[in-house]
């Protein structure tokens, strides 16, 4: 294939003809040519062998883009650890602008629990790859800089209202909480204000709310504090226990890994 692809593209830069490439994320098509629409490393995804498709050109929004031709991609990092390749210069924090889309897995904080629904504010849109293997904070994509800090400050009631206006809001309706016995769901026994919930987006919703579901074993409350204010650990799919007092509370618990 054409070897003239630049390693790094800027918006408006011509990348290749549509006869040999199809346009992926971060690109657009203009007059039978694929053009970059964001600045970043160019990624070529070869077509599936056997199928008659074309290679997909995209411009990466993520720093962990594989196969960009730039040998500067530390892919695996432990949570909290700095990538070794960037020890020389202080690495600027990478910002993403990924909106929640249908089927994306998000972490959200419960802000309000009502009889028929729970209101949550979306903290993080998890990476596609991260959604299958769990929550690895260093692999998530969001414009939030420090996911650990966001999550650990979650149950603190002081910093709820201030930043929620800047986050995308979502609803978990009563019938979307779990897959079985939907009509017996009592929202108060599923979520409490301040819980961190993992859910998937089922709809972009109306002007103000996305719609989330937790009707899967791996979805539900991942972090919660008890009434005494201590962190709780999950003991079953519907119960979490205070690590200090041993008090049990009801939640729709996500399967731990």
């Amino acid at each position: 294939m054409a070897s003239t692809l630049p390693a790094l593209a800027i918006p408006g830069q011509r990348l290749g003809p549509v006869t040999s490439y199809s346009a992926g994320p971060g690109t657009h098509v203009q007059q039978s040519n694929v053009y970059a629409s964001i600045a970043g490393p160019v990624v070529v995804e070869p077509a599936q062998p056997g199928s008659k498709g074309k290679a997909t050109l995209s411009v990466s929004r993520s720093i962990r883009a594989p196969g960009t031709g730039n040998a500067s991609k530390p892919v695996t990092t432990a949570p909290g650890a700095k990538p070794a390749a960037t020890s020389a210069t202080p690495k600027p924090k990478v910002k993403y602008n990924t909106l929640p889309a249908v089927d994306s897995v998000v972490l959200a904080r419960v802000t309000r629990v009502q009889k028929r629904q729970a209101t949550v504010s979306i903290l993080v849109v998890l990476d596609e790859s991260g959604s299958t293997q769990g929550v690895n904070p260093s692999q998530t994509t969001s414009d939030n800089d420090n996911i650990e800090a966001i999550l650990s400050s979650a149950a603190n009631p002081e910093n709820h209202s201030s930043s929620d206006e800047l986050r995308f809001q979502a609803l978990i309706r009563k019938e979307d909480v779990r897959a079985v016995e939907k009509d017996r769901v009592v929202m108060d026994e599923m979520f409490r204000v301040g819980d961190i919930v993992r859910g998937t987006v089922i709809s972009l919703g109306d002007q103000s709310f996305y719609y989330l579901t937790t009707a899967r074993n791996d979805l539900g409350v991942v972090m919660a504090r008890s009434e005494a204010g201590n962190m709780m650990f999950p003991v079953s799919w519907k119960e979490m226990r205070d690590s200090v007092t041993g008090q049990a509370e009801m939640r729709k618990v996500a399967r731990p890994f």
């Binding site: 790094l8 593209a9 800027i10 918006p11 408006g12 830069q13 011509r14 971060g26 657009h28 203009q30 053009y35 629409s37 964001i38 600045a39 970043g40 490393p41 929004r61 720093i63 960009t68 730039n70 500067s72 390749a85 960037t86 210069t89 690495k91 600027p92 924090k93 990478v94 910002k95 993403y96 602008n97 909106l99 414009d143 206006e165 800047l166 986050r167 995308f168 809001q169 972009l204 109306d206 002007q207 103000s208």
Partner: protein
Amino acid sequence: MTDRRRINGPPSGTRPAVFASSLNSASDIATGRPQRQRQPNELRKIFLKTGLIPSASGSAYLEYEPSASLAAARSSPKSLIPPSSALKLACTVHGPKPLPRSATFSPNLVLTTHIKYAPFAARKRKGHIRDASERDLGVHLETALRGVIVAERWPKSGLDITITILEAEDDRWWGDAPDSHDAPWGMMNVLAGCITAASAAISDARIDCLDLIAGGVAAIVADESEDGEAKPKLMLDTDPAEHKAILSACVVAYMPSRDEITEIWLKGDSSKALLGPDDKRSGHEALLDGAVDAARGAHSVLAEAVRESAERFAGLAPGGGATQ
């Protein structure tokens, strides 16, 4: 209505101080006025750097090279007043972020632009509340950017673009010479700078764009030559302080790779331009072409700054300023 929140001035009113003119003679006026040292088609250097404001999702800082007269005035100061000013502005992009709760559903990105002069930006002090000219500039900028952003890729979200002008271009030379023109020509240079900086900041925020959009200014200038005759000529990237009479000026927002214009602002009488003998273009065509040429020049700086932003993003190189 009285203002109870601030300490007010005396109710009886005060007289503004009247200062003696620092220009005493006609020779002062002749020597004090800055002169254009550049060729008619030569642009000022541009400094453009992205990512300077960490709390914003994208940001850019733009600065024009001060005119040669400023450097001369610094080395041998005749007056405390600098002869001309050069544009300096900072642009921040916040978003995409959720729309306010009162907003209706939008399948597209909702763009809002704010341009604000710092109170000290111009020779005439600006208030803290945006005035009509600032709102006007904001609308022009929004038109320019709306054509370049791929809005349908960001449903249900808003993008706020805020530009603070730290030093504005002069509208005219500060001296009260009788032959000074008096129209807000400086605003057009400010708009061109705003467009270029906003494009860099949007790219820095990684919002999908069709192209990098650059602003450029051209003007038809009737300066007296040696024989005292005013010959209207086309000049690119005019500094209004350097010219006695700007007949008309034009600013465009231009996408070089698509050869498209998203915003035109043409002001004044463009019919009097004296172009070359074999130049069949009308005055405003020549103006537009000139502004597009200026935008192409700005685009080369813009592309370099955005490439730098992408490199910094990809962790390839430490950041630095881009200059033309």
